[in-house]
């Protein structure tokens, strides 16, 4: 699941929990699901590592290599 999708789902779970008409049995289930989604969002933010590359033009084609390796 993508980060944006997980965030959307998390928000709708909170909304459901705020709604007093939600079925009793659903409460804990929603809470646990919400926690899972929140953890997923956090880990995808913390684990993501962007790359820094240097673009080179070889025979009018672009290639990338790690930046700062020359």
């Amino acid at each position: 699941m993508k980060f944006e999708e997980a965030m959307d789902n998390l928000n709708s779970i909170i909304e459901k929990l705020e709604n007093k008409d939600t079925q009793l049995d659903e409460g804990i289930e929603l809470y646990q699901k919400g926690l899972e989604l929140a953890r997923l969002c956090l880990s995808s933010l913390e684990e993501a590592k962007g790359k820094i590359t240097l673009i080179k033009k070889e025979f009018s084609k672009l290639t990338e290599e790690p930046f700062g390796q020359e």
Partner: protein, 384 residues
């Protein structure tokens, strides 16, 4: 021969000057004399060897120090001031002359590109930026500033550096080529054209028509961050967005993930709070039903209540939520916010009659004696 009033002549002069197309939005080059700022406006005279013209700059915001004798380019239109009976040049922009003719040429080029509508070709800010293509020198400080800001704010964003020479003969062609290459390079979400500070000549590649056109026509979103905050180049004008410095550009192009992390942590707390409120709401509702119903239904209701209680117990065994101290704090702060003393501290008073709380104007009559409690004491009062 006809006779006219002063007003008729001056009004006519104003009309003639205001409607003269050749005088609209022109640039006059001259030396500053008698520069004075009065209120929000600046007044001065522009001079050269043969002539002078009084100038007014309404709503003048100082951008640089203007001294007596400075050679400047003033942009604006002349107008005739009827009440004062004199002609003034109404200035809307002052530029200090750089390299004389060179600078004037640049202003003309800027005017030409502006009239062509080149500076109006703007692309909306991209929704998700996962990879930034940076066109700059691989050796300059700018690229390191950009990398450090991007990594501090959002570690997930990729940076692809397209190294170019940012000054010297032919630098503009390298920049144009880089823009054209990156424009068609799929994986890049936006382009950042950057260069650190330098002299007017150092930035000249970014003031060329070639670079201005390539940036304006680029199909991808282009941010221009050239020189210091006070430097404006043609590249800045034709870009979709101008950032004052390379670091500022990196900031604009990334989201602060720390803020998002805090927001998610806040949501986790909120989730627990909502669940606790959800069950306490149902629990209270049920207890109320106990009071209302007779013993016949009691045993059935007990079963439902036990079910909820077991949910609450289960809930407390879940990590994250098993923070009783936190629950206590929440309850305590809710209790505190409902403390009547807090309400009194806002300047309200509580009224009692015969030891009973008075909650309505109808509870008291003329002649009644009441006691009023304030935050810092009580007073007795008679109802008149």
């Amino acid at each position: 021969m006809r006779t006219y009033s002063v007003f008729q002549v001056t009004s006519y002069l104003k009309n003639v000057i205001d409607s003269e197309e050749l005088l609209k939005n022109i640039i006059i080059c001259g030396e500053i004399s008698n520069f004075k700022v009065t209120g929000p406006n600046a007044y001065f005279t522009l001079k050269d060897e043969q002539a002078q013209i009084p100038c007014v700059f309404f709503e003048y915001v100082p951008q640089f120090l203007i001294k007596e004798g400075d050679k400047v380019y003033c942009q604006g239109s002349p107008s005739f001031y009827i009440r004062g009976g004199r002609l003034s040049f109404i200035v809307n922009k002052i530029d200090v002359a750089g390299e004389g003719e060179e600078y004037l040429k640049l202003l003309r080029l800027k005017e030409k590109l502006k009239n062509e509508g080149l500076f109006d070709l703007k692309i909306p800010f991209p929704k998700h930026i996962k990879k930034i293509g940076v066109i700059t020198s691989a050796e300059g400080a700018a690229i390191y500033d950009i990398i450090s800001v991007v990594q501090r704010r959002d570690k997930s964003v990729n940076i692809a550096v397209y190294p170019v020479r940012v000054q010297g003969i032919g630098a503009e062609y390298e920049i144009v080529d880089a823009i054209k290459q990156l424009e068609n390079y799929e994986s890049i979400d936006c382009i950042l054209v950057a260069r650190g500070g330098g002299s007017y000549e150092d930035l000249s590649a970014f003031n060329t028509e070639e670079v201005a056109r390539a940036v304006a026509m680029c199909k991808k979103f282009v941010v221009s961050a050239v020189g210091h905050e006070t430097d404006y180049t043609l590249c800045d004008f034709s870009a979709d967005l101008r950032a004052p410095t390379p670091s500022a550009a990196a900031e604009v192009l990334t989201k602060n993930t720390q803020e998002i992390v805090n927001n998610i942590k806040q949501k986790i707390k909120y989730l627990a709070k909502s669940l606790s409120e959800f069950y306490s709401y149902n629990y209270t509702k049920l207890n109320y039903s106990f009071l209302r119903l007779g013993s016949a239904a009691e045993s059935k209701l007990y079963r439902i209540r036990d079910k909820i209680l077991s949910k609450v117990n289960k809930l407390q065994s879940i990590s994250f939520f098993n923070d009783k101290h936190n629950l206590y704090n929440q309850a305590f702060s809710r209790l505190k916010s409902n403390n009547p003393k807090k309400i009194l501290s806002l300047g309200y008073a509580k009224v009692y009659k015969d030891g009973k709380s008075v909650n309505s104007a109808r509870d008291v009559r003329k002649g009644d004696e009441v006691t009023m409690f304030f935050k810092d004491g009580k007073v007795n009062a008679d109802i008149l």
